[in-house]
Symmetry: D2
C-alpha cells in the first residue's frame, strides 16, 4: 500500500480521537452499520480530497465498510491531523497528507490520489474535479460520478458545467439542507471563533468583530461572536443578505468603512480579496485578520506582504506584519482556514450530518449514475428528513407528526377563516 | 361611494397614524412617487382583502397614486383599525371593515368588495380567491391577475392550482425574499410578543414559552421570546426545522410533552389544531394560549369550550376557561391573530418591504398578464435586490459591490487553492 | 370616606385586573394570608404615594389585611390606572389619583393624603417625606417610620439625612436584593420597551437604541433592547459601569457622540438633563426620546420646547417637535415614565417581590421603630432569602442546600489545594 | 539565582507570548511606567503564588520595575506555562513551577518560595498565607502585608481572621469591582468554555450545559454557554442568586435533578463536592464534567474513581471513566481548573485590570501597612474608577461627566417631581 504521512507512530492517538468523534456521529454510525451489511460500494474505486480530521476518519470507515476501495488526500495544506492520517493508514486506507506540507507536496499528494483512477470522486472545493478536467482528462472515462462538500466547490462546478465541460454527474452535498444549514452555520460559527481564540487568546467581548460575507458561514460566525459579547459588524455584497444582517442585530456597512473600526476580521465570502490592500492601509494598530472561507485568497496576503516593512511569527498561527507607519496587523494561519489551522475544524456533531450526506450521495450515485447526465444534483428531500430524524432521536428529542386531518387541511384550498 | 366602517369621525386620528407609519416606509414612498408619475394601474379595478392597518393605508395610497380604483375589506374580523378605515374612506377609498364585526358582517363585507368586479385581486390568506372560485365564478372572466400576501394563502393557491382550478395568474408576494424573510420573521417575532404582553402584562423572563411551528414566523417569535429572557421550547413536524431549532438554542419536543411544561403557547403552523383538546387536558393551571398563524383554527377553541365549566373575560383579549378540575386556561384574542387583535400588527418598517412587493406585483401583473397562464408566480430576484437596496440606503447603511476581478473569480472553475 | 378618582363605575374592571395580577404574585399572597391572621399593622394609619396600578392594589389589600388604615395617592400624574383606583375605593381604601391630572391636582391629592396624619409613610420617590419635612412639619411627631421604593428616593433620603434633618427611620425597600436586582432590572427592561413599542409601534431590530445610565434599570433595558435585535449604545458617568456595559456587549460613548447616532433614546439616570438642549440639536431627524428614570426632568423638555417651531401630538403619547431646520424629534409621554404612561408598568411578577419587601418593611417598622434612630435602613438579608425561596417554589423551581460538610469547608482556612 | 523550571530554552517563545499579552494590558503598562520612575517597592522581598501565565509575566515585570525582589511559584500544578516560566527566569525573576508537576514538587516549590522570607505575600487561593500560618510561623514576623486574588482565597482569609489568627493585613484584590466584576465573570465565562472546547471539540449548541454555582464566575459561564447556543441549567444554594439565574433566562433546579439532564457540567462554587457520587450515578452516558472554581475538590473525583470499573485517557485532558453499568463519564483536566489546564487561562484584557489591582495593592500596603491592623482590606473606590477610566480610554471609548448642576441635583432632597 502506497501512502505518505507524517508518522505512523501517531496511529493509536488518532484512533482514540476518531473514536471520541464517533460518539457524536450517530447518523453516520447508523449508516455504517447498514453499509456493512449491504456493501453498496463493493469494489468501487473512490478518490477523496478532504480535510483529514477525526470526523473524516469516520466517513472513511463508513465508505470502507460499504466496500469502497478509497484513497484520500488533504484539501488544505494546513488542515491535516497527522495522528488521524496515521490511524487511517493503519486501518488500511491509503492517505497522502502531512500537516504544513508545502505547495508542491500538496499537489503531488493530490496527483497521487487522482492517479489511482477513481470511479467516484469526493471533493471539498472541487480540486480533484478541476485536476481531472484540466490535467488528467484521460482518467475521466472511468468516473461515474462524484460528490462535492462546499459552497465554493458547488459554485466552481456550476461554472464548469456552464461552460459545457463537466464530464460526469456530481452530487452537491452542500445543497442538502442538513449540510449547509448546519455545518456551514453552526459548525463554522463555533469553530472559527475557537480557532481565533486558540491562536490569540483574545477576549472577544468588548471587541469589534467584522464578518465579511453573510452567507450561512457568516451568519453562524456573527451570531456566535455576538453570543460571546462582541460588537458585530457585517459587510455584504447582496443587499437582501445585508438587510437580514441588520435585522439579526448586526451593524452593516461597506468594508471601506468597517476596515477602520474592526479589532478582528473574518472573511467568509467564498470569493477573493475580501480584505484588500486598501483595507489594510486603514486598519487600526493591532487589527487581527483571519479567513474561514474556502481559499486563502479571500485575504490579499500578497498586498500585505508588499506593504509591510517587517514580518515575524509572534505566536503559533499569528504573524505580525509591521506597516510603514509602525502600525501592526496580525494575520492568522497565513490566511488559510482558521478553524482547521489553529483549531480542530467543525465539531463532529455537525460533520455527522454533512458526512451522512456524503455517504448517502455515494450510494445514490451507484444506484443512479446510469440515468444521470453530467450536471450538479441535489439529494432528494427525503434524505434530509431521514438524517434529521435520526439525529434528533439520538439527541433524545422528539417531534410531531401531522394527523391525517391536519395533513388534508394543509393541502386544501376550500376551508377558510 | 359605498362603504361600511365604524365612525368617519376617527379619520383625523387615522390620518396621523398613517403618516407616522409612512415615516418608516421609505421603499413604498419611493414607489408611490414613481407610480404617481407613471400611473401603471390607471383605471384598473382592484379588490383587496387585507388587515386594515396604518401600513395598509400607505399601500392603498400607493395603489391609488398608480391610478387604481380600489376597494378594501378586512382579512380578519379582529384586525381592523377603525381610525384607519375612516381615514381611507375620507381619502376616497371605499372600505368595508369594522373591528370586532361578527362572522356574518365579515363575509358580507368581503362579498361587497368582491362584487365590485375586480380586474386584480389582492389577498391575505386567499379568501377573495376562494370566494371567487366557489361562489362568484361569474366574476372570474374580468380578472387578469392577483397578489397573495401570506404563506398560508400560497399553500391554498397551490392546492387550488394542483386541482387544475385556478383561473388566473397570481403573484405569491410571500415568496419574495424581502417579504417572508423579514415580515414573517422579524415582524411576527416582535408583534406577537407585543400582542401577548399588551393582553396580559406578563413578565416574559422566567416563563417557559412554547412556539408551535418553526417556519419563518416561529423562528422570529422564538428568537425574540428568548431575547426577552424566556426559556424557549419549539414543536415541529419537519425534523430538519426541528433540528435547526435545537441549534438555535431552543429545546425541542413533541407538543404532547411540551403542553405540560409551557406557561405561554403560540401557534404559527399555518395548519389546524396545533393545540388540541388533549393538550389543554395536560396544561398547567394558568397556561396562556395564543395564535399568530393565519386562521383561528390553529387552536381547537371548540374543544376548549366543550371541556370548560366556565368562561369569562378577565382582561381585554383574555378569556379565562375553567376546566372541570379547576385549572384555568387563558385564551388570547379568541384564538385569532394576537399581534393584530391585541397589538397593532407588524411594525411599518417590515410592512414597507412586504407592501413594496405588493405594489410592484400589481405593476408586474399589468405588464405581463397577457403572457401568464393561470398559476402561482414569484417576482424576479432583481425586485428583491432593489427593495433591499433602497431600504438599506434609507436606514443609512451601505454595502459592498463586487469588483470585476471578484466577480470573474466567483464564476470561474479554474482558479484554485 | 373621602376620595377623588375618575369614575367609580370602572371598579369591576379594576377588580378583574387586580385579580389577574395577583395570580403572578405568590409571595405577596403568602404574606397577605399570614397578615390576615396576625394583624401586625392593626389600627396603624398609613399614607402611601405609589403608582396606582393593579400590582399596588394587591399591596394595598395586603396592608389592609394586616389591619392598616391606609390612604393612597399617585406618585406620578400619568401612571394612575383609573379602574384600579375605582376598585380600591370600592374595597374601602381611599384613593386620591386620576390619570392625567394636572400639576395642581397632583399636589392637592398628595396633600390630602399626607393630611390624614400617618404613622407610617410609604413613598416612591420620597415625595411624601419631602412634603412632611418641608411644608407639614407639624405632622412629623406622629410618624414612627416609613418605607421608600426607589433608587432616586433613597438618594434623596440620604441627602436629607446627611443634612441632619431626617426625622424618622425609613426602610430603603429598594436596597433589598429581591427589589433592585429584579424590579429595576427585569421589570424596567421589559416594561420600558413595552411602553416604547405601544407608543410608537416601531420595529426595534435595526434601530440604534441609546440607554443613558447603566444602573440596574439601564442594564435591564439595554439587555432587552439587544434581545429584540437593536444595536445598543450606552452612556454612563461611572467608568466602572461603562466598562461593564462594554463587556455586556454594548457600545459605549459619551452622549455628545451618541446623540448623533441614536434612533431611540431612553434615560434611566435618576438625575437631570441627561438629554439636554445640545443633544437635541444634534439628533437625527425622527429621533424618539423617552424616560424611564424617576422624574420627567431627566429630559430637558423645556429646552426642547424653546428650540421648536411647532409641536403636535401625532399618536397617543407621541409629541412631535419640529426644530428650526425642519428636523423632527418625538418625545414620548411628555418625558414622564414611559412604562407607566404608555404601558402598564412593571409586570406583577417582579412587583410581587418589591411589594413583599414593602409589606415586610411595614411589619419591621412596627416591631423595631422604638429601637431605631432616624436614618435609612435595609431589611435583614434573611428577608431576601425568604422572598426568593417562596418565589422559586411558586415557579416550580428548586435549589440546593449545602451539606454540613460543604458548609464547614466553605468556612475553613486550613483545607487546601 | 535559584529556580526550578522545565526548560530555559523556551524563554524566547515565552517572551513573545508575554509581549503579545502586554498589547492587551494598557492599564498595567501605564502603572509599570510610573512604577519604573517612582520605585514604590524598592528592595521589598515579595513571594507570590500565582498561575504562571503570560499575563502574570507582565505583573511580575511591573513589580520588578517597582523595585521589588520577587520570587514566584505556581498556584496550581496544571496551570504553569513553561515558556513563560523560562522567560521570567531569563529576565532575572526566580520561578519555581513546572507544568504537570506532582503534588510533592508542587509543595516543595511553594516551600522554596515562602522560604525566601517575604515582606509581602501575593496569593491566588491563600496557599502561601496558609503555609505561613501553619508550618512556617517563624517567618511571619517579617511580613508587612499581602494581596489575595480570588473569591475562594478571600473566604479562607476571613475564616482565618475570624478565628483571630491572621497575622498581617491583606488586601482582597478580588473585592475590587474592576477585579471580580470582570475577571470572574467575563474572564471565566470565555476561558472555561474555551478550555472545554479545546479539550473535547464538542459542539456547544444543542447541548444541555449545567453551571453549578451562580456567583460572578457562574454568571459569566452560563451567559457565554447560552451565547454559543446551549440550553443552560443553573444549580445554586442561594435562592436570590437562583432567582437571578431564572430571570437571566436559565432553567434552575437542584443538582439532584440536573445531574440527569446535563451533557456538560461545570463547577464554579468555591466549595467542595458540588458534583458528588450520587450525581455521577444518575448522569447520562457520555456526560462531560469540568471544574473552573478554585480547587479540584469541587468534583468528588475520589468517588468517581471508586465507582468506576475502568479509566483511560481518550484525548489530552479527557479521562474516560466506565461505570459498572457501562455508562461512561468524561472528566476534564482531572477536575482541576479547565481554563488553565486545557486553555491559556483568562485573556490578558481582563487580567490587565485584576493585575493592575494587584500592583496597586502592593503600593497601598507599602504606604499604609504601619496604620493597618491584621485583617482583610479592600482598595479605595477611586482605584476602581482610575483603572476603569484608563481601560476605557485605551479601548477608544468615552464616558460622560456630571455637570455641576447635575451633581448638585443628585445630592439634593428638596427638588421634586
Amino acid at each position: 500500500m502506497d501512502y505518505d504521512i507524517r508518522d505512523i507512530g501517531l496511529a493509536e492517538k488518532g484512533r482514540l480521537r476518531a473514536e471520541w468523534a464517533e460518539r457524536e456521529m450517530p447518523v453516520l454510525r447508523t449508516i455504517k452499520e447498514r453499509f456493512a451489511k449491504e456493501k453498496p460500494l463493493e469494489g468501487i474505486k473512490l478518490a477523496g480530497c478532504l480535510h483529514i480530521t477525526a470526523e473524516t476518519a469516520n466517513l472513511a470507515h463508513t465508505l470502507a465498510a460499504a466496500g469502497a476501495d478509497l484513497t484520500l488526500c488533504a484539501s488544505n495544506p494546513l488542515s491535516t491531523q497527522d495522528d488521524i492520517a496515521a490511524h487511517l493508514v493503519e486501518s488500511g486506507i491509503p492517505i497522502f497528507a502531512i500537516k504544513d506540507e508545502d505547495e508542491k507536496t500538496y499537489f503531488d499528494h493530490m496527483s497521487a490520489t487522482v492517479d489511482t483512477g477513481p470511479q467516484i470522486t469526493m471533493d471539498d472545493g472541487a480540486d480533484v474535479v478541476a485536476m481531472l478536467h484540466k490535467d488528467k482528462t484521460h482518467l475521466l472515462k472511468d468516473v461515474i460520478g462524484g460528490m462535492e462538500e462546499t459552497t465554493t466547490g458547488v459554485i466552481r462546478l456550476k461554472a464548469l458545467h456552464g461552460e459545457g465541460k463537466l464530464a460526469y454527474p456530481i452530487v452537491a452535498v452542500n445543497d442538502s439542507q442538513t449540510k449547509h444549514m448546519f455545518d456551514n452555520r453552526y459548525g463554522t460559527g463555533q469553530s472559527s471563533l475557537d480557532g481565533i481564540i486558540r491562536a490569540t487568546n483574545l477576549l472577544i467581548t468588548g471587541k469589534t468583530v467584522v464578518t465579511i460575507g453573510y452567507g450561512w458561514c457568516g451568519k453562524g460566525f456573527a451570531m456566535r461572536a455576538k453570543g460571546m459579547g462582541a460588537h458585530t459588524i457585517v459587510c455584504e455584497v447582496d443587499p437582501v443578505k445585508a438587510l437580514e444582517a441588520v435585522m439579526d442585530g448586526h451593524q452593516v456597512m461597506s468594508m471601506d468603512e468597517a476596515c477602520k473600526l474592526g479589532d478582528i476580521f473574518l472573511t467568509v465570502t467564498g470569493g477573493m480579496k475580501a480584505v484588500d490592500g486598501k483595507h489594510f492601509e486603514n486598519m487600526k494598530d493591532g487589527a487581527v485578520v483571519a479567513n474561514s472561507g474556502h481559499f486563502n485568497i479571500e485575504i490579499n496576503v500578497k498586498a500585505l506582504e508588499e506593504m509591510s516593512e517587517a514580518k515575524r511569527e509572534v505566536r503559533d498561527f499569528v504573524d505580525e506584519y509591521t506597516l510603514e507607519d509602525g502600525r501592526k496587523v496580525f494575520l492568522l494561519a497565513q490566511g488559510r482556514l482558521i478553524n482547521l489551522g489553529a483549531a480542530e475544524g467543525h465539531p463532529p456533531s455537525v460533520m455527522d450530518m454533512s458526512f451522512a450526506n456524503q455517504a448517502l450521495a455515494g450510494e445514490y450515485i451507484m444506484k443512479n449514475h446510469s440515468k444521470l447526465d453530467p450536471g450538479v444534483y441535489t439529494l432528494p428531500e427525503a434524505v434530509d428528513t431521514d438524517i434529521a430524524s435520526i439525529k434528533l432521536g439520538a439527541m433524545g428529542m422528539s417531534y410531531d407528526v401531522l394527523t391525517k386531518e391536519q395533513d388534508v387541511y394543509l393541502n386544501s384550498w376550500e376551508v377558510g377563516t
